[in-house]
Symmetry: C2
Subunit: 141 residues, 2 copies
DNA sequence: TATTAAATAAAAATAGTTATCGATTAGGGG
DNA sequence: CCCCTAATCGATAACTATTTTTATTTAATA
């Protein structure tokens, strides 16, 4: 595993324990935590960490392309260390957000660029629905 | 044009001038205004109108399926009287939000339902990029 | 027109995020 | 390896979008 410290340094960021903690946490999860969740997860092991620092750190990371911000319509933003654009599913019952990979989107990009006069830079596809787990739970109940 | 008052009444809403004003405004625009924009647009002709009422009205409308809420990653939500799910383009330069219609999405729905265990209810596709107008402006500059 | 439940305006509260600022610390030069 | 300086940190205040509260007004119906 490549050193987080080095990645940060390459991006021109001063390396601090707080930044390493935030970045590592995002690397090691497939959940898509928001700032508050990240803060609560790190607080026990990093008692010297404030919510404001988490926000500021995420903002730096976002601008340097280290993380991706994701808004699925909740009050707050979620963050993803996978920075390549990719679709997500959002379960409207349990709120779980999952990654998704679909080749069909490149076709759509091409179509929009050609037919409309719009240069697509990045896309965000969110599929809202009910995940299998919740569907099963509903049948039982 | 069908009476707005009647539409509201059919949905079980009490008909008030404020609600008529908000709904008509959304019907007559292809912009995707947020609550603040709606309020500012209506204020001159409806001096007796508050921002809180706009928010509450939009919330009622949303729950009754009269409008669709759209979050393109700004601080606030935008609203659309076209309630059928449809993709949007967002120009990252001028901020303009435009509607888009793509048949390819039904294929994607089907694929996700079959291959993953996820029941798709509604989708939101946002294509971020630069619109033709801004691209031309950039060339000139 | 009287009744009544619902809607309104204004203000206060709340949630998420950002800005401020003095204290602290990372990292290059010596 | 230590010192210096600029960058970053944490705490808290401020800010923005939205929701709730409350007292008042209004629409719908009898």
């Amino acid at each position: 595993m490549k050193e987080t410290a080095q990645i940060l340094r390459e991006k021109g960021l001063k390396v601090t324990p707080q930044r390493i903690a935030v970045y590592n946490m995002l690397l090691n999860t497939i959940e898509h935590p928001n700032a508050e969740t990240i803060y609560k997860a790190l607080e026990p092991t990093n008692p010297t960490m404030s919510l404001a620092t988490v926000y500021k750190t995420l903002d730096y990371f976002k601008q340097l392309g280290l993380v991706q911000e994701l808004n699925v319509g909740e009050g707050s933003s979620r963050y993803d260390a996978v920075v390549k654009c990719h679709p997500h599913t959002v379960c409207m019952q349990c709120g779980k957000v999952q990654d998704l990979y679909l080749d069909e989107l490149t076709e759509i990009h091409k179509k929009v660029e050609e037919e409309l006069d719009f240069e697509v830079n990045c896309e965000q596809l969110i599929l809202y629905g009910i995940c299998g787990k919740c569907r099963n739970k509903n049948k039982e109940g």
